[in-house]
Subunit: 170 residues, 2 copies
Amino acid sequence: MLYALTQVQFQKMLKNLAAILDKAAVHAEAKKFDVAVLLNARLAPDQFPLIRQVQIACDSAKLGVARLIGDVENAPKHDDSETTLPQLQQRITETLAYLASVSEAQFEGAAERHISQPRWEGKYLSGSEFAIEHAIPNVYFHITTAYAILRHNGVDVGKKDYLGPLPYKL
Amino acid sequence: MLYALTQVQFQKMLKNLAAILDKAAVHAEAKKFDVAVLLNARLAPDQFPLIRQVQIACDSAKLGVARLIGDVENAPKHDDSETTLPQLQQRITETLAYLASVSEAQFEGAAERHISQPRWEGKYLSGSEFAIEHAIPNVYFHITTAYAILRHNGVDVGKKDYLGPLPYKL
């Protein structure tokens, strides 16, 4: 299930985020202001602005999957230099391409893998703990915060943009 | 894994939310304003205020689990009448009690269960689709939005308050 929760669902959420950012561009154009104003908007003076929220959402998804499958060294590197909306969309596109390149077979043993990060000073979580208590909450946090920044600034986004289409069956 | 993702993790997240709301009360007292100002704060004129974000976070968790285990009729009813912080905390407490009452055995078959809601007009999702694409993203959305409303209003909350403690091992 970790594959469905991360490789699959993170792609869906990043595509939703890309569509939300497109709505920000449409809004800025309609109101005749530079979309960079939105990219640099934040909800509090000491909180990251929209650009950084998108960058961290991408990294939480990319590194979440890469750590689960033990593939951090092969994940694409990003130096957080994006300043424009096309650059941010490219960041999302590259993250999506990496996630799409990962197969379900690579998740074998992921739930039990010992996962660490430099800042954890040698401590680790199991793969399932890492996914459930760290990677998944982080991806949703940064996508929701990006959404909230745009919502606060008048962009016409709603819950359906965040959740994306659901695979209803009759 | 649906048990760990929902019954267990939703309890953790609602406890984190309760602690974040306590920080809001401390902030209001220090700044000498009524915490009700924060409870009624929102990020956009047509977005739900903090009270409603907390109510929906509770319901997304409660009904997410109840639907997965086919127990909606036994889940506690709430009529969304909370107006004060103690009432909201009570709502969280009752939601936590319901989640804690659910056993892992009750999740047997949950991934394949057909899950519907009145507004879906007879359509359904499988239990795993419902959990991964609806319940989990919704719980994180409303908790993050509650957090964002408080962060925007100067309450001293950070990512650690949102994620809660992690079960690091050496």
